[in-house]
């Protein structure tokens, strides 16, 4: 077992994990209230993997992840306000409401994005790492993705290129045992994912993704290899999501007992208990951390609620950079009669009707579910 670090570090780790937990719970609640749209993928259960990883990174290292990355941004220091506002689709969001829950982004903290396409972030990570190498910088890129992503074509392609070019990148699989509703042994021929890149010349290690200290220590070691040996590695963090794949997942594919078993390894509970057991934190510390997380998340909801909707005039903003020496880009400008909605919240009745009737779970007989949602 990894030795417990100093009080400051423990406070920091627990605070970040608690913030993520509370944030995700609240995001789920707000989604049920239809404050957020689209898909909502929560990382509850995976906090140790996230925080252990980010705590091993330098501020100038790059992090890149998936559509389940509210927590990753928070762990990097992005304000809960901005993440919640993004989920609400508001101007105050990390991307002004353009990206939504699946596409959180914070350049300042070098969180290079959440991405909706499974496996899509792997080559991007290679590119970020290539930039570090190209410029002789000693920054490292950490690329996080799910077990399901190891089956994508990008996985093999990117592993090979990263190994071939000795790119400073740590590939970290958040193996939560399921890709959506498909259990790992039903989607991957080899379930020991740490071995999966050996054929591409990338050594791997499986670590306990429920133990924040283990994650922190081992990821630090892998970052060190990337930074100092210029060699990519693959880390498989064994973890679990307590919630469904997304907000509207009936979870027919797993047994309640399995979830219960994993709940006993709850990364927050076990870490807090250990900190208390070893006398590094007091029960009051832990309570205080929770209370602060509550506060922060409550404030975030208020911020997001108060943040304005993006203006209709902003629809085309930022699509292109129009430089002086270049021609015009606003293609629509010259396209005649682009008759389309300018209605926003006041969208006409049918559109609303269709949107609602179309949502996979907007079965009218299912009154108990208060909001329509789609599953994936």
């Amino acid at each position: 077992m990894v030795e417990i670090p100093d009080r400051e570090t423990c406070l920091d780790l627990l605070s970040r994990m608690s913030l993520i937990r509370r944030f995700e719970e609240e995001a789920g609640r707000q989604y049920q209230r239809a404050k957020a749209g689209g898909f909502l993928h929560l990382a509850i259960g995976e906090e140790a993997t996230i925080v252990g990883t980010t705590s091993a990174m330098r501020d100038d290292d790059y992090l890149i992840g998936t559509y389940r990355t509210h927590g990753h941004a928070l762990a990097r220091g992005t304000s809960a306000d901005a993440v919640m506002a993004e989920i609400f689709g508001r101007e105050g969001g990390t991307s002004g409401g353009r990206g939504g829950s699946m596409h959180i982004f914070d350049l300042e903290r070098r969180f290079m994005g959440g991405y909706g396409i499974v496996g899509g972030n792997l080559p991007l990570a290679a590119g970020l790492a290539l930039a570090s190498q190209y410029r002789d910088e000693d920054t490292v890129t950490v690329c996080m993705f799910g077990d399901g992503a190891t089956n994508t074509g990008n996985f093999g392609e990117t592993m090979n290129m990263a190994a071939l070019w000795g790119l400073p990148v740590v590939f970290l699989v958040e193996n939560n045992l399921y890709g959506m509703g498909t259990a790992i042994d039903r989607h991957s021929a080899v379930t020991d994912l740490s071995r999966k890149a050996e054929g591409y010349g990338i050594a791997g290690e499986r670590i306990d993704g429920m133990d924040v200290l283990a994650v922190r220590e081992r990821v630090a070691a892998h970052i060190d290899i990337a930074r100092n040996e210029g060699r990519p590695t693959l880390v498989e963090a064994f973890t679990y999501r307590y919630r469904g794949h997304s907000a509207a997942d009936p979870e027919v594919y797993r047994e309640k007992e399995e979830v219960e078993e994993w709940r006993e390894k709850d990364p927050l509970v076990t870490f807090a208990a250990r900190c208390e057991d070893e006398g590094v934190l007091t029960p009051e510390d832990v309570e205080k951390i929770k209370a602060e997380a509550d506060e922060t998340v409550k404030a975030a909801v208020e911020f997001a609620d108060a943040s304005p909707e993006p203006s209709l005039e902003s629809l085309y903003d930022e699509l292109y950079v129009v430089s002086e020496t270049m021609g015009w880009y606003a293609v629509d400008e010259r396209s005649p009669e682009p008759h389309r909605g300018e209605y926003g919240e006041d969208a006409p009745a049918l559109a609303k009707e269709l949107a609602e009737s179309g949502a996979a779970h907007a079965e009218d007989e299912q009154e108990e579910q208060s909001r329509p949602g789609v599953r994936s």
Partner: protein
């Protein structure tokens, strides 16, 4: 959906899947949701032909990301309802190979957005193989995929790719807008010897409609006239077929304009004749689509109609399209980027400008 509820639903489904006449009472036409109609089409064809099977991400245990394959695993088992890894290009390619060997795969891509990863297998393999090998082998497969915006799924998850697929010789492209068409076109697609891109709309899975029972197979290349009219022809695809109908109602009620609404149902082949006949009568046309304005379904149709019926047109054809941006997540922006019936009405008024005045009292 709660777990308890699910169990129930599965039982109900089971019943439906095993006996598709249960809902028909006293000669009444059963009313189904789009997803049920599509599921029934697959189930019926799988019962009819052992070679038909379904393959895709989460189509089995999970019952389909949008529940379209619900119940199929239970009835047909793992051999014929195959969950796959997340490997879009190889899923499609495996389907192509199986089809070349004589099976009839139905490949589900979870959404059109991920079809981008399979474009090589779709275009360079599925579409090209029959022609490239001079008809010595065929690729009788269906690639189903839902798309479209409206759910705040954001820039990577809201695409409408009808206009990409319709370009490709070797493919057929279907885009049903009603449960009845969904079922009848999917049955046709499964029986067809050619590779079919079958585009569904995420927002239409929940709509209900009468679905005649049994063997109705809808020929490709036959448009449907959803509403007859005399003043203007509105062509709408997928969800936009509904928006067009709604617009027609408003036009009738508020402007006294009689609009004919046409749903092409398949974009490749395209039933241009039906559309031309209508335009020769109305002398005006509006095309409504959810996709991007450049090189879209509307651009194609507008060109085809203008070429063939130039002398019949009293005004340039109007297009109503999605905005020329990746779909923003924000609800307000997304709604602004998607066409609504008001936009169609505007477009119709633009094309009929001054021609009819407000003819509300006319009829």
């Amino acid at each position: 959906m709660t777990p308890q509820k699910t169990a129930q639903t599965e039982e109900e489904t089971e019943a439906k899947v095993n006996d598709d006449s249960t809902e028909s009472k006293d000669g009444e036409v059963p009313v189904l949701r789009m997803r049920e109609a599509l599921r029934d089409a697959m189930a019926e064809e799988m019962r009819r032909d052992e070679d038909v099977f379904v393959m895709g991400e989460d189509v089995g245990v999970f019952q389909g990301a949008f529940k379209v394959t619900e119940g199929l695993l239970d009835e047909f088992g793992e051999k014929r309802v195959r969950d796959t890894p997340i490997s879009e290009n190889s899923i499609v390619g495996t389907g192509v190979g199986a089809a070349m060997a004589g099976l009839r795969p139905i490949v589900e891509l979870m959404t059109v957005n991920f079809s981008l990863l399979a474009f090589d297998q779709i275009i360079n393999h599925a579409a090209a193989i029959p022609y490239m090998f001079n008809g010595h082998v065929r690729v009788p497969m269906v690639i189903r995929m839902p798309g479209g915006g409206g759910h705040q799924l954001g820039p990577t998850h809201s695409h409408s790719f009808e206009a990409l697929f319709l370009q490709i010789p070797g493919l057929l492209v279907a885009c049903p807008s009603t449960p009845a068409d969904g079922k009848a076109l999917l049955k046709a697609a499964i029986r067809d010897e050619n590779p079919v891109i079958f585009i569904e709309h995420e927002s239409l899975y929940g709509i209900k409609g009468e679905v005649p029972e049994g063997e109705r197979v809808q020929r490709f290349g036959e448009a449907a006239i959803r509403r007859e009219g005399t003043d203007v022809t509105i062509v709408g695809v997928l969800k936009m077929a509904h928006v067009a109908e709604k617009a027609a109602e408003i036009l009738e009620a508020e402007h006294g304009i009689s609009a004919e609404v046409i749903d092409p149902r398949t974009l490749r082949p395209l039933d241009l004749d039906t559309i031309l006949e209508s335009v020769r009568k109305t002398n005006r046309a509006v095309v409504v689509e959810e996709g991007w304005p450049h090189g879209g379904v509307g651009a194609n149709l507008s060109t085809l109609i203008t070429e063939q019926a130039f002398d019949y047109l009293d005004a340039p054809i109007q297009r109503v399209t999605g905005a020329d941006v990746p779909m923003p997540y924000s609800k307000r922006l997304e709604q602004a980027a998607i066409p609504h019936e008001e936009n169609v009405v505007e477009a119709v008024l633009a094309t009929t400008e001054g021609a009819f005045g407000n003819r509300k009292d006319r009829s």
